[in-house]
């Protein structure tokens, strides 16, 4: 039996149902989320965008001064440690904020899109010192505000962000100027160029020449990040005498990098690569042409307007089929699970606070029966630790290709064991006042199979009843 529109909308295109939240009734409801969601600030970076730039600037200055002193033989190890600790703390708080954002946001489709694009433009927050603070900033200022407009705008915002340039080892400059180089000079860093073509725009299967890659890399080599202010500068690496790239000519102007990104954004290979990726993410590992083709048409017609492309996807009947072939990734599992428990917003805030004050793991019996509030150890284990154990730590993709969203990546003995373990822990910690029958309804709605309902009611303990609901195939598929 095919689940209702609302159930599929919540689970396949959102982070699942949450008691008290209205699930979308139709495609219009889902599309209406996008402009609304973009108007509300996410729960990270905690100090907001401007505040985070200030924090990062301050810490980076302190560290730059210390680094300079160290070179002169006067290192300050304590200061280095202290600033490292502060960056770690900032990151942990934001990582929890990312989970919280997905749990409490009523705009599930938008949140899923944000995650999709964060994987598309993958950056790892643990890469270097700066990224701890600016990867959350990257999501908040480059990805989230631009994910429903023209793809070219999103592409420029993502690539021309310090988080991306630092993550992909784009050359970073001290305040001194670089000597211009000729095209084709050796030691050109091609990492960013290759990733831009393979992962962010045309796709690895599109086919491009060595010259194309070298040209792209040459233009990108003009980009640099100031290591204190985090400002991006573009300084052309030299005159190019009309270098041709994919049929476009670049002359070494100060906006070559922008023009090149815009040109790449509207190439047909890019449209196909991204549309297929969207369908593969949301609907099926093997994206059906009947969904991809109308999206391509919308892309072409609108010059890459992502809102039109999403709409074209959702308008296809195949997007609503009952076949649940995809297995949800760990982040989705944890968020969907927490949503089913109807956590009160205060519980997470208390948790964040407890984590900050360093209460950490429990060493003594806890007084009282509060859950998150009194048990930061358990709360942490259910969120940040759980995602680490399941192989999807927040903002730490294993490579520039991002986390896999393919079914075979997340259907393994270790994964299933971790999820069952998580479900038991969550049931114990959060399920005291939950009735199993109501929980199945909250977690799965009309997506629950008969066998799941029967087993949940027959379970020997309430903990196991809730565990069965969360471990069920239909909870883990979409």
């Amino acid at each position: 039996m095919t689940p209702s529109f609302s159930t599929i909308a919540s689970r396949r295109f959102g982070y699942g149902m949450r008691p008290g939240e209205d699930a979308p009734d139709d495609v219009d409801d889902m599309m209406a989320q996008l402009p609304k969601a973009m108007k509300s600030a996410p729960r990270f970076p905690r100090e907001g965008i401007t505040g985070r730039r200030e924090t990062a600037g301050r810490l980076l200055s302190v560290r730059a001064v210390e680094a300079k002193a160290a070179l002169d033989g006067r290192p300050n190890v304590a200061l280095r440690k202290e600033t490292q600790k502060e960056a770690d703390r900032i990151f942990e708080r934001d990582a929890l904020g990312r989970i919280t954002q997905a749990v409490y946001s009523p705009y599930g489709f938008y949140e899923r899109l944000a995650t999709f694009w964060m994987d598309h433009f993958a950056v790892n927050a643990r890469k270097v010192y700066e990224t701890h603070m600016i990867v959350p900033l990257f999501e908040a200022e480059a990805i989230r505000p631009n994910l429903a407009g023209p793809f070219s705008k999103l592409l420029k915002a993502a690539i021309l962000h310090p988080a991306m340039l630092i993550y992909l080892d784009q050359e970073r400059v001290e305040a001194t100027a670089n000597e211009p180089e000729a095209p084709g000079a050796p030691a050109l860093n091609e990492t960013l160029g290759r990733d831009l073509l393979d992962l962010h725009t045309m796709g690895a299967d599109a086919g491009y020449s060595v010259e194309d890659l070298r040209g792209v890399s040459f233009i990108l080599a003009g980009l640099s990040v100031d290591n204190r202010s985090l400002e991006i500068a573009y300084r052309p690496r030299g005159r190019t005498n009309g270098m041709a790239l994919f049929g476009r000519t670049y002359t070494g102007g100060s906006d070559d990098h922008q023009r090149m990104l815009e040109d790449l954004a509207v190439r047909p290979e890019t449209a196909r690569f991204i549309c297929r990726k969207l369908v593969s993410h949301f609907i099926s590992d093997d994206p059906p042409a009947e969904v991809v083709e109308p999206m391509l048409a919308a892309w072409t017609e609108s010059n890459g307007d992502l809102t039109r492309v999403y709409r074209a996807m959702l308008d296809q009947p195949r997007a609503w089929s009952g076949e649940m072939s995809k297995v949800i990734p760990p982040f989705d599992f944890v968020v969907t699970g927490l949503r089913a428990f109807e956590l009160k917003p205060g519980e997470f805030q208390a948790l964040a606070k407890a984590m900050e004050s360093g209460v950490g793991e429990e060493a003594m019996p806890m007084t009282g029966k509060g859950v998150m509030r009194d048990k930061p150890g358990v709360a942490r284990a259910l969120t940040i630790e759980a995602l680490k154990r399941m192989g999807q730590p927040v903002w730490q993709p294993p490579s520039p290709a991002g986390f896999s969203d393919r079914t075979d990546a997340w259907l393994s003995p270790g994964q299933i064991s971790e999820r069952i373990g998580w479900a038991r822990m969550a049931a114990r910690a959060l399920g005291r006042d939950v009735e199993p029958e109501e929980f199945v309804e909250a977690a799965l709605g009309d997506g629950a199979r008969d066998v799941t309902r029967e087993l949940v009611l027959a379970a020997p303990t309430k903990v196991h009843a809730l565990t069965l609901a969360l471990a069920s195939p239909e909870f883990n598929r979409r």
Binding site: A427, R432, L455, P460
Partner: protein, 392 residues
Amino acid sequence: MSFTRITRRGFLSASAASVMLWPLASRGQSATGGESRLVVILLRGGLDGLQLVQPYGEAGWSGLRAGLALTPETGLLDLDGFYGLDPSAASLLPLYRAGELGFVHATAGPYRNRADHFSAQNMLESGSGEGRLQRTGWLNRALALIPRSAGRRAIDVNASMELILSGATTTDSWTTQADTSLAPDEVDMLARLYSEDDGFSRTLAAAMPAAGSGNHSAIFDPQRRAAGIADMARLTGGLLRENYRIASFSIGGWDSHRDQKQLFARASADLSRAFLALKEGLGEEAWRNTSVLAVTEFGRALRLNDHGGTEHGTGSLAIIAGGAVAGGSVMGEWPGLSHDALLDGQDLAPTTDVREIAAAMLYQQFDISIGNIVSKVFPGLDFDGNSIYLRG
């Protein structure tokens, strides 16, 4: 389905009929000054009392439960010439012989439907009678009624959701990593949950220890489960040796709808280890002042089903242990297993209400008045503290 209310009369006649009914050492000998300890172990899933303590002296016993019933000739450990202990619990025998562990057979809580673990456990933990479900746990309500504050410190081990200690009086809780491994009945249900999904079925099978690699996850590891349960019991004992006086924890694994022989052996071995670890954690002195009560939400049907398991039943048994109890015997009125003696012709008819055993422990060890017990801890329970066997 007929409902056999355990009446005061029934309990009294039971006491008259059996040699020794009162499970505690006499009140005069019990500790005073807040040294008394009480541990309630909830055996979740429906313990088959007929398997743990088998009435091999019952006419036609072997034939009544083909495949499960044992006799001393086939490995049952004789307790008193009529009852015998399942070999899976052999490690409890020394405690039994020392008078530190005993059984009350044919017990039940108030629940009579056989249908639903949650309702039955709710009634067992809330101490409610039929039709008047309480929202708090009986052990929590009892706490407030203990005259000496030193006796009131209670801890809920490893489960923040246990109803039995929930309520107005603040209790502490300790979450250990102990019970992270699945009980055998739980694993069985997961296999059924995945049976219609090839991908999940295959993955679960590969995660099981049976897959051979030894590389399986901890949650499917029976040894780890056994060790975790023992750790939890030892930890509880340690907490009670120090400041705490009342504790509760759960041991599951009893819902043996399939392959009971194997499932029960594992659950029973886990439970046996828990008793020994609890005693070890308490140490000799504290153990002397301790009573332990292990109870389950319902028993199981007399006859096996088609899967080598048993369906839910009614009468089961309670286990009592500790230096403060008079163990070394199987107490309770034995109702018999003839067709007419069975409840609805299906399962062991209960003759003792488990709440009466708990009430006696609270009365004797913690000086909670009878008035409070029958009005606040177990409202409606027919409990008479003046009866002869209570005074010893």
